[in-house]
């Protein structure tokens, strides 16, 4: 084996990689926020929404969970493109990831809602709370605790999945790495360093989530 490692060009590009890393984080966080909101709506629709909306929610969840995430990105890129709707790479990745997150989270939320006993709802209503007060003050806080760890997993998943963005021309961490790697032919070095960056980002998310859980859930 006569491969010589050259790390210097990689280290020279580190600021660019970090910047791309922030973009990765940004798109992951935004896709989680959208995913949580949409996932909550999907879960409630699946539990007791009117029929046509319930079907749409079911189809959404089925597609998001049972097709490759890459194909979902391609749909927002090339699929919509075929109909003349050309989104920027950023939007393609954001919408693709949000679609996927919402599908997975909806299933988690649905399980969470079903795990909170009916009697909690009745007790709150018997105190004169409205249905929405009951959801906001009593039901959703309990659901959030149940889905907290699955939600953290989904966040990690979103960070890692955003690397698919490089296949639709998005210069997030992986796209940026690919760009420099092909310019310098230091492919192994670039991707090794990027893998470390991913690893550190994910670790920070996991530790942060653990610390936050300790503050949030005292019961």
């Amino acid at each position: 084996m006569d491969y010589n490692f050259h790390w210097r060009p990689v280290f020279r590009q580190l600021p660019d990689l970090f910047e791309a890393g922030l973009l990765t984080l940004e798109v992951a966080i935004l896709s989680m926020i959208l995913g949580i909101v949409l996932g909550l709506v999907l879960a409630l629709l699946r539990i007791n929404g009117p029929r046509p909306l319930r079907w749409i929610a079911n189809i959404w969840v089925e597609l998001a969970r049972n097709t490759p995430a890459l194909f979902q990105l391609f749909f927002f890129g090339f699929g919509l493109g075929a109909f003349g709707l050309h989104l920027t790479p950023y939007l393609i990745v954001l919408l693709g990831l949000s679609f996927n997150n919402a599908g997975y989270l909806a299933e988690n939320f649905r399980g969470g809602f079903l795990a909170v006993p009916d009697t909690q709802f009745r007790a709150a209503r018997s105190l004169g709370m409205t249905a929405s007060q009951t959801y906001i003050r009593i039901i959703i806080p309990q659901v959030l605790r149940i889905v907290y760890h699955p939600m953290t997993n989904q966040m990690v998943w979103a960070v890692l999945m955003s690397s698919l963005g490089m296949l639709v021309g998005f210069r997030e961490l992986s796209g940026e790495t690919q760009f420099f790697a092909s310019k310098t032919y230091r492919i192994f070095e670039y991707f090794a360093v990027t893998a470390v960056i991913y690893y550190v980002v994910v670790k920070i998310i996991l530790i942060g989530s653990k610390l936050a859980a300790r503050r949030l859930f005292k019961y």
């Binding site: 006993p117 009745r122 007790a123 018997s126 105190l127 004169g128 709370m129 409205t130 007060q133 003050r137």
Partner: protein
Amino acid sequence: MIEIKQLHKYFGKLHVLQGIDLNVNKGEVLSIIGSSGSGKSTLLYCINGLEPIQQGQITVDGIPVHEPKTDINKLRQKLGMVFQQWNSFPHLTALENVALAPKIVRKMSKDAAKTIAEKQLRHVGLGDKLDVYPSALSGGQQQRLAIARALAMEPEYMLFDEATSALDPELVGEVLDTMRLLAEEGMTMICVTHEMSFARDVSDRVAYFHQGHMEEVGPPAQIFGDPQSPHTRKFLASVR
């Protein structure tokens, strides 16, 4: 006053309440006894509008419970309810459990809600558990917490749905004592119960329910001492 007139309630085809007529006066303690499935718990759920009714009328202080025009959330502030399963809110401390509804339903200030919550928790003997989460309380304590939570709304009526039947036997006493205390203070109470001694000692009147009918209602001495209906006699013989 709670007035129930010709109340009929169905669950699908099942005719659970078959023409109930019953008035409960202010300051009165009424116990409802009867075997499971006789419709007694359903009656409580109907009184505070948690269950729709199919025929007849229930009014609380003249306000019809099931009229669409009635502000049911406002009416429920008059009607405290305690359930068989002690539904404490697990994500809130004892104090927060009790203070929440005064704050968001009665729109009290944070401090005022806290004050009333503390007062009611002391009232039921949980003055030393203010900052404890329900998971650290026994079943009996959680049920007393549920009573305090209902009382903090300063209701005029309290509905107890088999408040002790999910408890371990050694915890029943503390909850019954709390209910006795309320009765002595003059609270108007409707208690669906399997505790015959409570029904006999504490109530002003006892009603016996059998298969969706109110078979018999009267002072405890009459119901327990000289029951008129053969069903009542049979039931009392079986629980003695």
